[in-house]
Symmetry: C2
Subunit: 407 residues, 2 copies
């Protein structure tokens, strides 16, 4: 058998395995150290009570033949798609219909699986630093092209730097596809309405497809920061949006997300005479290769849109944002340059002059017993920066802040 040789093109970063190794080595040598983990992007608060209740109720439905549910629609049940359309879009003036919403098991799967729709030879814009799955999934699919220098033939890195506020800038040349992640992972920076409008205008002018990852949308608290790209006029013609219940409602271990593919998304097809719309393609992809999200999980997700559910979610997000603020404040006090932590659970900071991201990682671990994530793990332009998260418990986060005051 001939295998997909692009698997050999991927650059292994071993970011989280290297972190685990260094932490384990340190613990082995210092077994009494009380290590606080503010590294990974996983949540710590339990599921909201409305989700727990919906799960129990629907598990009981699955126990009786009269109410048992087998295969559901691959795109998700209407009860969930309708709740999403009403609350996440129409309530914000976005013209998104339930049948443009595809429920899935994760934004990671969706962003990665969306590469199934791409042909070869597209020029793809990806922020640097950013969540690694955009790049990795394109490399595996062969869409990134051959490795070239630090990058790949078909990838244009959008450098997110201190001088541009860690925001991807409109490039000089044309992109076929661009990934935008806001609020951003890892920098915590959120794009404003003006920022997004520039990208939508660029996409309209250049027939660029925007893949908009809004997995951290629920952390947005400031005015002027769109919650959806569809708040920008005409975005329906150029953008797909990825959302997730993982960080919104602690579903990282329960698995539910969704992707919006507007029916108005027209695809320029220079390599085929057959007209296919992205919506039809994604529907085809999902019905052929996916079997939908568990019924009980979709009911738990739908329960989040009740008034009680929304209140419960808000409280948990407030708690994480308070954690992020605590972390941000202590680094600000100490004179660090800091971004994020306001509309985002992520705090992004510049490590002290002359240190690398990994050196700062070791210093935090060895001197303060705190685990963070080196910025260089998210791309070459992340070197010299560091990510901490508000996803810890409030107690541990306050304890971490106390320790950091001694920096």
């Amino acid at each position: 058998m001939l295998i997909n040789s692009h698997f050999g093109d991927i650059k292994e970063t071993y970011l989280f395995s290297e972190i685990a190794k260094r932490v384990n080595d340190y613990k082995a040598a210092n077994p009494t150290a009380d290590i606080i983990r503010l590294g990974i992007g996983d949540v710590t608060q339990p599921l909201p009570p409305v989700a727990i209740q919906a799960l129990h109720e629907t598990v009981d439905e699955m126990a009786r033949a009269e109410t048992f549910r087998g295969y559901g629609p691959e795109q998700g049940y209407d009860f969930l798609r309708e709740a999403i359309a009403v609350h996440d879009f129409k309530a914000r003036g976005c013209d998104i219909e339930p049948d443009e919403i595809f429920v899935s098991d994760g934004a990671k799967s969706d962003t990665a699986n969306f590469t199934d729709l791409f042909g070869d030879g597209n020029i793809i814009g990806i922020s640097n630093p950013v969540y690694p799955v955009y790049l990795d999934s394109n490399v595996l699919a062969g869409h990134a092209g051959s490795p070239a220098g630090d990058g790949y033939q078909n990838i244009r890195y959008l450098d997110c730097l201190e001088e541009n506020g860690f925001k991807p800038q409109i490039p000089d040349g044309r992109l076929d596809i661009v990934y935008l992640c806001s609020p951003n992972n890892p920098s915590g920076v959120a794009l404003t309405r003006d920022d997004l409008k520039k990208w939508v205008d660029y996409a309209l002018a250049n027939k660029t497809l925007i893949l908009y990852d809004a997995a951290y949308e629920s952390f947005i608290r400031e005015d002027g920061i769109p919650h959806s790209i569809y708040e920008i006029p005409e975005a329906r013609k150029v953008a797909v949006e990825f959302r997730s219940f993982s960080k919104t409602a602690g579903f990282t271990g329960l698995r539910c997300a969704y992707t919006v593919v507007p029916k108005t998304l027209e695809v320029t097809m220079s390599d085929s005479s057959k007209p296919l719309k992205l919506h039809a393609m994604w529907l085809r992809r999902q019905t052929t290769k996916f079997n939908g999200v568990p019924y009980i999980v979709q009911r738990a997700a739908a329960a989040l849109y009740t008034p009680e559910g929304r209140e419960q979610i808000r409280k948990t997000i407030d708690l994480y944002l308070e954690n992020a603020k605590t972390i941000r404040s202590v680094f600000e006090e100490k004179g660090f340059k800091v971004w994020g932590g306001i509309n985002s659970p992520y705090v992004w900071l510049k490590v002290p002059e002359g240190m690398t991201s990994w050196q700062f990682f070791d210093e935090l671990l060895h001197r303060y017993h705190i685990v963070g994530t080196p910025g260089s793990g998210f791309g070459t332009r992340g070197e010299g920066y560091f990510r901490l998260t508000g996803f810890g418990s409030p107690e541990k986060t306050r304890e971490a802040a106390e320790r950091l005051r001694r920096i």
Copy 2:
């Protein structure tokens, strides 16, 4: 953006939508008709009590911060992988280790996603008729090649005919990849040890990768029918096996399955100098593009391996097999040629001389108010045959048999 033009190559069969249309049209014209559905492959019995109990218990774990679980391992939790290795493999003398088992959300996803590992230009063997996802996923990925005649350039159809007992035969030429489905969907025919040994020998001699879909394994009751391809010596060198809890334990709406990728599976890489094993490639694919199965669902799956769980599953499968026997018997009485229904929930029958599959569909619907599936929906060689399933309720199935006695 350039799209994947292979989406234009797929041949739409609209099998289940056409069935739905004809049933709805008939119901509209005959509103009092009591229609019995023995068409789709979905289960009707509720989840086993052990699964219900495990779900309730773990939902409660998710309600408390101390026991809450966030992201799990993409490959599945060890507790489930170990239970699978012990009960499904080691108990049958198959040398499969827990870390060769990848837990997933469905055998459909896994068989389709496995095409991510293929390079271009492989010659792929696919039974005709068979479950349509093997072909469709390869067409979408471009691995099937251009449409050519009734088929595609790189696809070799293995005709499953009355004269070969609906079993795929070893071809004259070489295949790079072959899909085998046993017990088969749609024919219900299961491959014997001898049948499978011939395929393993062929694969060893030809360096062919066998993708073995054993989603209906739990329906096997006869001796001499392997439950796993790894019961055949040296199959570890040539075969990947797909399994599912969907039909085993009624998980079609809960979503859990697994794929076995032995570490001994060496890949012939004629297009690259980098050695990559299939196990490492699948691990890379899953960690990059998948986030694992819900913790609560994995606990429900693990509960199936307890003595009570195994007993509960067995009872349900017995019920479906009894249904299949009821259907099979009535057609045998009436002089039809019938296959399957013994180690399988599917009964496959030859329609009366001179009728097409769809004509027989209409006759069953209009005269007996019974819905089945036309064999032609599973491939050109399915024309003239028809699939019925044992997944109905016992009452409805017996009622259907009474009606069919009037044929």
